[in-house]
């Protein structure tokens, strides 16, 4: 015996059993999340809902009540949100997962870039946290030798490829492109700053 619910899917009334109801809710939530931030999100989600309703109507197997097995058949046709591969939006799903490597990040260093390298490696946004840990250990006496050892054994991120691997980003034309663009704008800013300082001094 199972409890059933009545639902309105894409303007059509369906009877669905409790288990399938929860699974369908999760599925619809995942679809919504997949399109978060898209301009046409409402249209996309509505269209998918309408299509799901149609697929449920067409599926005559196992009676009218939507069960988990009926739902699974329909999900197979519609696909899981992560498979909705319009590359234009889902560029990030195309990049391969890259093995992260530990480097010293000299672009963001206080001493030798160990803390910022470690933060990149562990995906921590702010290296301040790691720095605080080092300072804490330094008080106990092991922080400084530990830091020196890491300084000796951890290579510094020299090339763009190193820097991408440090953040675990795949090396492809796009990521290198973004990286180079970022670097160029940084260089521009530095030059502008230098120019300003120079002018100030001249005045």
């Amino acid at each position: 015996m199972k409890k059933v619910e009545n639902i309105n899917l894409g303007g059509i009334k369906f009877t669905i059993d409790e288990d399938a109801f929860h699974e369908l809710s999760r599925y619809m939530d995942a679809i919504e999340r997949r399109f978060t931030g898209f301009d046409g999100k409402k249209d996309i989600v509505d269209d998918i809902e309408i299509r799901l309703a149609e697929l449920f109507q067409e599926d005559k197997q196992g009676g009218d009540i939507i069960s988990n097995s009926k739902l699974a058949r329909i999900q197979k046709i519609m696909g899981m949100p992560k498979e909705f591969g319009d590359d234009y939006y889902a560029a990030e799903t195309m990049t391969e997962h890259v093995q992260k490597r530990l480097f010293r990040d000299e672009d963001d260093k206080v001493v030798a870039g160990i803390a910022s390298g470690l933060s990149a490696y562990y995906g921590i946004n702010n290296p301040l946290l790691i720095r605080a840990v080092f300072v804490f250990f330094a008080l106990g006496g092991i922080g400084i030798p530990l830091y020196l050892l890491l300084w000796i054994f951890v290579p510094k991120a020299k090339t763009t490829a190193d820097k991408l691997a440090m953040h675990g980003e795949a090396i492809n034309i796009e990521t290198i492109g973004t990286y180079v663009e970022d670097s160029i704008s940084e260089i521009k800013e530095t030059i502008e700053d230098l120019g300003k300082n120079f002018k100030k001094k001249m005045n």
Partner: protein, 110 residues
């Protein structure tokens, strides 16, 4: 070598072109578009079509009208716009060139 990814990339690159061609012939309801695309194995899961349609809509290459349906709620019928037709012409000529070029290379290497 696993060629699945290469094949998927080929299909993806041409999907937009196929959808524009379909709605150029006549106005279509998403399920009709899906049936055609599935019949020619252009899509694997149906969900792929919707973000693509939304993108074409936003770029004003297609638009839609609501139409009453005999078997359920009203349906959205998509059709190509003038802008969409221009893009389609451009894509058609580039597809023809590409197809010839690839065939030529394939023949030469045989």
């Amino acid at each position: 070598m696993n060629t699945d990814n290469t094949k998927a990339q080929m299909r993806k690159g041409l999907l937009e072109f196929c959808v524009l061609s379909l709605v150029d012939e006549m106005e279509m309801y998403p399920s009709d578009i899906i049936k055609k695309l599935k019949a020619s194995q252009m899509i694997v899961v149906e969900g792929t079509l919707y973000p693509l349609l939304s993108r074409l809509l936003k770029a004003e290459l297609v638009n839609y009208n609501w139409k009453e349906s005999t078997s359920g709620p009203p349906r959205k019928y998509y059709q190509i716009t003038d802008g969409g037709q221009k893009v389609l012409e451009d894509l058609t000529s580039s597809w023809n060139t590409l197809q010839k070029a690839v065939n030529k290379i394939i023949k030469q290497s045989k």
